[in-house]
């Protein structure tokens, strides 16, 4: 039984000034597999995230769709929220109703509202197909290779070495220094470059 919770964010007024969040919430309730819908001023804020955690537990939700800004911004944020709620973070989907809706159709509130509903419907459909995923882990060997012994390679090697990690600096020429060592003085302070 798939029980999707839809959480609609106002983003202050970034979304709600264009998209009619009340009618989006009403429409979202009718989407298949949706078990719970709510909206809030700032979904990414502490109280907003608490709302998600609470709803997941109270309404026994097993998928979450957050309708908010781009997933490029807050996907990791809400993945952590799901983890706190005891859900696998990959049961989350984000409907981008800010960058790809309210901000780009700001003159057409009806169309934007209809599109927001459509975007939520798409993400609910996708979320219904989501399955829990486990993050594999790999062992990290703490030794770095720097290819190129110019100023960039030397600086990177020194910084890593100063942090206490071993570094191998490989340079094809028979001296390090690269192009910078060829220069005389360097602008704008005219200090030497060796």
């Amino acid at each position: 039984m798939k029980r999707v919770g839809v959480f609609i964010c106002h983003c202050g007024s970034n979304i709600s000034a264009v998209v009619d969040v009340n009618s989006v919430a009403e429409a979202a309730k009718k989407i298949p597999n949706v078990a719970y819908v709510t909206h809030y001023k700032y979904m990414c804020s502490d109280p907003g995230q608490e709302e998600i955690v609470k709803a997941v537990n109270e309404h026994n939700l097993n998928r979450v769709v957050v309708a908010s800004c781009s997933p490029r911004l807050h996907e990791p944020t809400f993945q952590k929220t799901l983890q706190r709620a005891g859900l696998n973070p990959y049961l989350l989907e984000i409907a981008n109703i800010r960058e790809q809706c309210s901000w780009v159709h700001s003159k057409f509130k009806d169309l934007a509202t209809a599109k927001a509903i459509a975007l939520i419907r798409m993400m609910v459909a996708k979320a219904a197909e989501n399955v829990p995923l486990l993050r594999p882990s790999v062992y990290i060997r703490k030794k770095a290779l720097v290819i190129g012994g110019g100023i960039a390679g030397m600086q990177a090697a020194l910084d890593i070495a100063d942090a206490g990690y071993p570094v191998v600096l490989v340079e094809r020429d028979n001296t390090i220094g690269g192009k910078m060592a060829m220069l005389d003085k360097t602008f704008p302070t005219l200090d030497c470059s060796a």
């Binding site: 009718k30 298949p32 490029r72 960058e99 790809q100 159709h105 459509a118």
Partner: protein, 81 residues
């Protein structure tokens, strides 16, 4: 499928002047989707009939998806990445 059953009956074709094509865009997360976000950030306005589907790379756009979209009534497909 339950999804299709809930479809509202298709509205009658609108007046020729009002008709808007339904365009499905498969956008690469790293570039085209980011560009679409940038359009939002810059408040560039465009028709609301575009539906963006985020894919991890434009290489993910399987021909099967495109055929399915046409089959389901899409008027145009954009693969961007």
């Amino acid at each position: 499928m339950s999804l299709e059953k809930t479809t509202a009956p298709k509205p009658a074709p609108a007046q020729p002047g009002n008709w808007e094509p339904k365009i499905i865009a498969f956008c690469c997360h790293w570039c085209a989707y980011t560009a679409a976000d940038l359009a939002g950030l810059s408040r560039i306005q465009y028709p609301a009939a575009v539906r963006i589907i985020r894919v991890p790379c434009s290489g993910r756009a399987n021909p099967q998806f495109i055929l399915k979209a046409f089959q389901k009534g899409a008027d145009g497909i954009l693969v961007a990445g």
